[in-house]
Symmetry: D2
Subunit: 443 residues, 4 copies
């Protein structure tokens, strides 16, 4: 029987060793025959470094996974079973602009659902839709597992503007929350279950269970009892929560909710951090350089522990888990980004949501959520409106649509500032936004 | 045949002469026999001034409407056909606090959908629900026409927490927009029709028609062509709109949308105005004092033209129009606040919305809107979430619920500032918020 | 100013004199300049007879409406403002088969929502969609007013399978019910209002009003107090209703509901009638022959009173009313078939429903219904399922889809009988069903 | 640690040995300490027979489950963890009337969703709601697992008319379909998965999977390739399906669908069977008598194999499976009857549906279905309307509501016959329908 062919677009990413480790670990039930790592010419050096590490890893593990390194995406895609996308159009320099420019105007950049995320979407979505077209032709039965950010909008765009139905968006926020809660409760993560529902980077834990019993209130007490919530991510500063607010809300927020419920404090933190140590992109750039130095070591044949600090921890492991459950029809439950299909009442059926799903061979099937709690529904709807308008702007290259997306983002303080930020960012990212410049669509 | 009995609660309001004028004007088809003006002891003096003016007005007009002045609400309600509520719990002094306190924390007070509006709701809703209980007993067949602000939340609370089904919320924003558009187009208002949909003070003109033909784009061009939009209200400064934003949005915003789409500029304006000439409440207080001086003139027997500057223009006329259409089963179209009942897809059936309705003897029936445009849906949903949580806080007196309402309001910059404003406002409005203090529900 | 151009496809219909009368009557506010009557070669003789009567009518009335008779549909459509369709593919002979064949198997033919209606849809929808294509090209701004049966399915098909958005389906059932109720109450019809909601030939009067006051229970008492309901149509036998059933239902059924709530009795009636005097088609054929004899009379220059017995009374008048309200942006309320757009909760937004609408220059806008009463929702949903599958069969020519439509129709007693009737009817109507025969899609 | 207390109401049922066997089999992970078997005085003898068999079974198995037999329901309920209800108000004699009376009028009795089912609901729902009230008081944390028929309507009634939230309805139709499909495919049942969605006894297999791969078309080919479908139940005659109909439908029907898609043939079968060997109730009565003879054998200490022929095979095993998954938070997937909560679009959130659920310690959570296929939605909606009206009739005892339920049932041919059957059945079941007779609600 033929083994599995996996293609990783953006294969030169520093995350890739976690993916390789995940595949090695699961080899017995997930017999991968070929792993194709694809990158663009600008990423060739990194691809080689990571690729060689990957080769050493499979060799050391003694599993017969062939590692292929290539710049030819179409060659890689032919006959693939799973395609993972972890690309970053414009690399970390573009992300630095996403963060820096809004800050000049007193606005948080926020590389996923904020103005930075809007531009990440404008740059990324056309590339992903292009990959979808290639997949239609070259591997129409393959699954697309996207973990390029902004994962929510990318999934929304695939659902609305491509013909690829077998697509899932993946994020490490839910697994990070589960890990965090487990640590708070001082139990192993597999005893913790969370009813996730919302959007990507806008997901709530509607209820938390320990060994199947509801412990939501206990967890809320724990995250509001000190100066820090202790459920966060390395990249998002943990300012704690106003206890009565979270207790009134009655659900577990995700780390990214700080940008919306603590906007002013987060802005101050970001301004200070940008001054002191650079924006997150700038910090990550240093981290990555260090990682690649490690990866070059010809004696290294395992994922180095330093990778976990990178911020993307669990990402690739989550991807392996998902691929494994699809391949083996495991029917276990994982939180992913998929077509809503009625799971959350009030969100269009054909929009992307992040919810717990049963993972089957035919893909993830969402578990019904019903109505979101009233107090969180409004914000979720507002981000969904932003996401939908942003996707439309990414596909049409229409200036006014982009301005509407920018202005309705809850982080923006006015239409005029939105326009200023938009104009400066469009200019700054011009090389990656051909859809906005080809026909002089704006003045 | 018995004539109609109308009861006006808050009858001592400076708006009442417009109501009386409206009833006189329509006497032939709307034969009102008794108009009962009710007020509280603190308002007795004003009630007498306005009441006497009303008596002179009906006498001069030669219509047999009996004017009754009373402080006994229950006596007035017995056997009423229509009850209008135009009350202001805590009077203008409370409104001044609604506006002043948030400004201290760099937040717009906004007496309808902002933090000020939250407190207006907390003070007003229990009183209105009390009136509903009296109506159930004393005039179960009467119509309740509310134009106390925040009219949206008051209607939401009546729908969810009272047994009164025959209730309508009324606002002068839609009629003001129609007047404004007519002026811009230089035509008479009856030739202009607007498809209104949204929430109170959060209503959009989805399309605008002149003699039945769509002129939406033309109107959008007009409101974005200069420094001012020219569709506003006397109380809301007209900063103009970013043309590409409104053109991208493709719908007519209402004046209150400035608070959400131009938050920072509006805050600066309010801070400056507060310093210079006082908050809106303080300005209105002076205006009212002047009006009551006029009303005292025993030779005055008509509505004085100065009333139109008061800010509530068209309000009472809209109320007379509504009463007239209900009484005569006119089946004409008016924008009012009613149970959604499916009119706007995505808003709960049992929530209040502001939409065009066919006005029948059995009440207003909303015209289907379908889905709101994606770009505006998010903000509308967020305000609806705020409104619903605020109503719950008003009814339960629960501190955490009030904090959630405050924090999720889009004007608030963080959970911590929300708590500070909430705490100071609760203390300031203590005499009017028994539900929060009776059982020491918060620390 | 240019006058209005109306095109009537199926202009040789015996109904046309009512249309002409309606246009003459409204000439002052609806200045029609040209009325084009179009028919197919087989209908040429009738077209001439009716056309000449029409010419005599306008001449006598002294209005400058030009009557054009043509077999060239495309020439007629060019530049039209309103297109009415009142065609009958296969003429009355086809209808006779629609009624006769099912009866052989002990099943009611029912030429609208029954097996007969399915075949009428299969024959008619492709022709209407063809007209839509011509309209897109030749008169893209024109309104399509369809009153060809089955009007519900034809509207459904236009909404789902054509690009024409300005389309309305019209039926005389609601106006007939209003007339019937007015007669029962012994008042003039304009004092009666009915909240219509449902589907074509499956519409309910949810509430009935006299001068704006609910009289639903009184009307239900009247229609259930004797052996006949007295709210019916000339073509549907009036068997009365089981009083407790209708009182329990609490809404006014339409005459066609007898086919579903009194299936067995109606079948017996139809079998007896078919034996005695022929099916409805056969009766109508005689009536039509008599009418055309009358129409030939060169001295006749008005609509002859005998036309009212034809069964289609009020149809053309309803069409003129609708055209008039669209043209003059009357914003009055008329029951028509349109896109649901949320009006009836539980029916897809993009499906056709028959509901009260506000008639504007931009077309009919449905008034919100909310949820249908539980007891009627099921049957309405079942007919909607039937309609949607039938439309799909009409467009695809797929045999199995047609069999599903036939089998799920509530009049059919089993899948096997459905197949027998389907097969015999497909064969009988072969000349009018090219979509089923071109590529030998079934055995 | 305290073990589990299970209470079985209707414990004297012939099904109970399967339940006992199921509990013994799962003892290691589901440590039941007490099994209380409750019955009414009329069932005392059977209770003793079955109870003694149960005692012999646990003794032989060597598990420390205490068996308690009692006629005191309240004593049994106190402190229960799980309550199963498998009762039959009026016993098999009542069921015989449910089947016999409609047949006299040429109508299928159908003891679940037909006129027989209506009467079963009218008799059973008040008793179940009474048990719910006892549970609120005596074991508020217990789970109610109902498998009394009509399980769909009973669940609907619990959801709408009781305060018990922890309730699940169970049926053996889905597991029977899975077994049948496995046999057809000649594989073990655990390799087959079916996407179940619909209502109780009106459930469809939307897709069928073998080892996770879709085999829906293959299964449809198999069930339509011969004279029998081979997916049926012992009590429902297998007439095969019209192949093109099922292929057009594209989903797997359940055995009960024959009553709706093959009404006439099923009626003929039932009439013949009733004449020849008695109705199903009469056949079952004999089977039961034989079973109880077996049960009396003091040497019998296992579930006798003859029980499987009884028609309720897998029922009790399904119940044990469900209890086990709840107790152990298994998060596996089982098809049960629960609150829809958005799982099937178009069915009210608060209505009961039969869908695949993830079974957690907090109960079953439905997996999203989205919209049902158009062709089946109508029938499902119609049965849901019937169920809801029937529940209302059961609770109110209102004659007209009962008549509406009867008339809108798709098996009934007219309002008049509905009334005749209703009247005769009300009279026949009078002792079990106090709600209809206490206050002379009908004439």
């Amino acid at each position: 029987m033929k083994g599995i062919k996996i293609v990783t677009i953006g294969g030169g990413s520093s995350y890739t060793p976690e993916l390789v480790e995940g595949l090695i670990k699961r080899y017995d039930e997930l017999p991968v025959r070929e792993l194709w790592m694809v990158d663009i010419p600008e990423g060739k050096e990194k691809l080689n470094i990571v690729g060689n590490l990957a080769k050493r890893m499979v060799k050391k593990a003694g599993v017969p996974i062939e590692i292929h390194l290539t710049l030819d995406r179409r060659e890689a895609l032919r006959g693939a079973d799973f395609v993972t996308t972890q690309l970053r159009v414009g690399l970390l320099d573009a992300r630095a602009l996403d963060e820096r420019i809004p800050l000049k105007y007193g606005v948080i950049g926020q590389e996923t659902n904020g103005p930075g995320g809007l531009f990440k979407a404008l740059r990324t979505i056309p590339v992903i839709l292009d990959i979808c077209k290639d997949m239609e032709e070259l591997c129409p039965d393959a699954w697309l597992i996207n973990f390029s950010n902004p994962a929510g909008m990318v999934t929304e765009a695939i659902l609305r503007y491509s013909n690829i139905k077998k697509a899932v968006g993946l994020c490490n926020v839910p697994i990070g929350m589960r890990m965090g809660v487990a640590k708070l409760l001082d139990v192993s993560p597999d005893r913790v279950h969370i009813d996730f529902a919302g959007l990507n980077h806008m997901v709530f834990g509607l209820d938390v269970y320990l060994d199947g019993e509801k412990v939501t209130d206990r967890v809320i007490d724990l995250i509001t009892s000190g100066e820090k919530s202790n459920v966060t991510m390395s990249k998002i500063v943990d300012l704690g929560w106003e206890p009565d607010f979270i207790k009134g809300l009655g659900v577990l927020p995700c780390p990214y909710h700080r940008y919306y419920f603590q906007t002013q404090k987060m802005l101050e933190e970001e301004l200070a951090a940008a001054k002191e140590k650079g924006t997150r992109a700038e910090v990550v750039k240093k981290l990555e350089a260090e990682l690649f130095e490690l990866y070059k070591d010809p004696n290294l044949a395992v994922k180095p522990p330093q990778l976990e600090k990178r911020g993307g921890a669990y990402y690739s492991d989550a991807a392996c888990n998902l691929i494994n459950s699809i391949y083996n029809d495991k029917r276990d439950i994982q939180p992913v980004n998929v077509r809503n299909n009625g799971a959350i009442v009030g969100i269009p059926d054909d929009s992307a949501v992040e919810v717990n799903c049963v993972i089957t061979k035919e893909g993830p099937v969402p578990i019904s959520v019903g109505e979101l709690p009233v107090a969180v529904n409004g914000l979720v709807q507002q981000i969904k409106s932003f996401e939908r308008v942003a996707c439309k702007a990414a596909v049409t290259g229409d200036y006014r649509t982009a301005l509407v997306a920018m202005t309705i983002n809850p982080l923006l303080p006015s239409d005029t500032i939105a326009k200023q930020i938009l104009d400066e960012m469009l200019e700054a990212h011009k090389p990656y936004l051909p859809q906005f410049f080809q026909e002089a669509q704006f003045s």
